[in-house]
Amino acid sequence: MSEINMIVCCKQVPDPEAPPSAFKVDTAANSVTLPPDIKPVIGQYDEFALEAALRIKDKAGGKVTVLSLGNKLVRDVIKKALAVGGDELVLLEDDAFEQSDSWSTAYALATAIEKIGTYDLILCGRQSSDWDAGQVGTGIAQLLGVPAVTLARKVEIDSGKAIIEQVIPDGYQVVEVGLPAVVTVTSELGNLRYAVLRGIMAAAKKQPTVWKPSDLGLDSSQVGAAGRHTKLVRLFQPVKEAKCEIVEGDSAAEAGANLALRLRQAKIL
């Protein structure tokens, strides 16, 4: 097969591994806020999807185009995708893309993928680290009319097909699918590689392609908040009462033994 064209969908999100206490909800704006020292990142599962693409490129060659939708995307954050080995960066970036839901996101991404035109494999994360929806990858596949395989832990290309190890309950299955196809990637695939200095320097020189809704032939009613199918009514944090009883002892071992006594006394065991 000739060169494999891959598109990896990466979303910029607030660092999901920030301590839970850092997450606050602005109820007036219905949005989550984090302290300024917590920087945005590329979604974890999107990074695994990017790694899957780079491994295919390592082995068989090919081109990796990274596609991201959002507004005011931080260049240093999203350019990591180029620094680790992505070839091109396409940003769907505009005020009108704000407050997209899974539908309007998938719709714009699928339209952009059609505009890019040549694609064999579209890789997404299993779910975004902010809305945890797990819809956009499969949604793109439906909109483009191509097959989708979810929860991949390994992706290889062989004679024009993708061979995928898909996680199933208590194990995995090997599946085969013709191209083009969408594959969503899970964590066991492995972490994204580190960027090397040469990659970082090359990435710094590359300019992303930026498309607005009109570049995609979409009008503002089809994108972002206006194009949503679901309405976000309320965002809130459930109240939690702190109530942990710390069992102590002269040593860690004694504390362990005391815990056993305490659990017994509290009739938990």
Partner: protein
């Protein structure tokens, strides 16, 4: 256009019986249908539905569409979506409920995008707005660091529901309902994914989802060995199973099937002992339904102490053997 009415559940079977998530969906669906004063129906689609349709009625359904087709033998979403789409147009429900299970996760977005409607996945709370009759769909977002309430005014409203978030009704064999054998022409040519082989990863001992107690280890365990020794010994005393947070599974210390959390298994044992786990929201998402959570962590500021009822601050290498030994004595005596 027909008016959308009623609640439809897309059920799942395990060896010819309703899955536990399906009984939970029926419990929740019954409540919603009663609030709407409308019917609850359930689609059961498999190569053989066995006694599941009767069971679905006992657990709350008014009507069961039983679809038997050999094309449904393998759990292929491209086959199931054809059944779901046909039933959605035939029954024209207001609401479709599915499980946030491997099958539901794969199927629900396909269905929603085909029907051009909205979808909320992984809901933990569902209610009917008495005024608009819309379904209020609450789900954890940002890894569980916040909750969001969504509505969707396009019909049908589709949601997937987190395992163990809803309570099933008591099964009642005297409940009445109709079983309607239904045929759907499944076009197998659109099933473009071929399953080559299935590889089961053996997990010995008590199944995580059924275990009354779980001892779960995190990145702080440091390697695969302690899962088989230190943690296993405590689990044995509690007649429970060993689980893990995501890093041990990612590192290959334990099989993926042991991974608990938002993107792993959802468990709700009587006792959950979390060992060397920091308590990230995405992990808590999988075990917050536990009756009593106990935490062992060397860091007194670890978030897990905000979740647990009992805790010990210390290195697990010292705490756990002493805890196990003492419990052994107490439970024997």
């Amino acid at each position: 256009m027909t008016e959308n009415k009623g609640v439809l559940i897309y059920g799942e079977l395990v060896s010819g019986r309703l899955s536990s998530t399906t009984t939970e969906l029926l419990g929740c669906g019954r409540r919603l249908a009663d609030q709407l004063k409308e019917d609850l129906c359930c689609v059961l689609a498999s190569d053989a539905v066995g006694e599941a349709p009767g069971q679905a009625i006992a657990f709350g359904a008014d009507r069961v569409y039983a679809v038997e087709d050999s094309a449904l033998k393998e759990d292929q979403a491209d086959a199931h979506v054809q059944v779901a789409e046909k039933m959605a147009s035939e029954a024209s429900p207001r609401i479709i409920l599915m499980g946030q299970t491997p099958t539901g996760r794969d199927l629900a977005p396909r269905l929603a995008f085909r029907l051009k409607t909205g979808l909320s996945t992984d809901c933990i709370d569902l209610a009917i707005d008495p005024e608009t009759k819309l379904l209020q769909q609450t789900k954890p977002v940002y890894g569980g660091n916040a909750h969001a309430l969504f509505t969707c005014d396009i019909m049908p409203q589709i949601v997937t529901v987190r395992a163990k978030a809803m309570t099933p009704l008591e099964g009642d064999d005297s409940r009445e309902g109709d079983v309607i054998p239904t045929t759907v022409d499944i076009d197998t040519s659109v099933i473009r994914v071929r399953i080559v082989e299935k590889i089961k990863e053996e997990v010995t001992g008590v199944k995580l989802e059924d275990a009354p107690a779980i001892v779960s280890g995190g990145r702080g365990i440091g390697g695969p060995e302690p899962f088989k020794t230190t943690l296993k010994e405590l689990a044995d005393v509690l007649h429970g199973a060993v689980g893990a947070s995501r890093p041990p599974a990612d590192n290959g210390w334990v099989p993926e099937a042991m991974h608990i959390g938002l993107t792993g298994k959802i468990v709700a044992p009587d006792i959950y002992v979390s060992v060397a786990i920091s308590g990230a929201s995405q992990h808590i998402a999988g075990c917050s339904g536990s009756k009593t959570m106990i935490a062992v962590n060397k860091d007194p500021d670890a978030n897990i102490f905000r979740e647990a009822s009992f805790g010990v601050v210390g290195r697990y290498e010292e705490v756990l053997p002493a805890l196990t030994k003492k419990l052994n004595e107490l439970l024997a005596g």
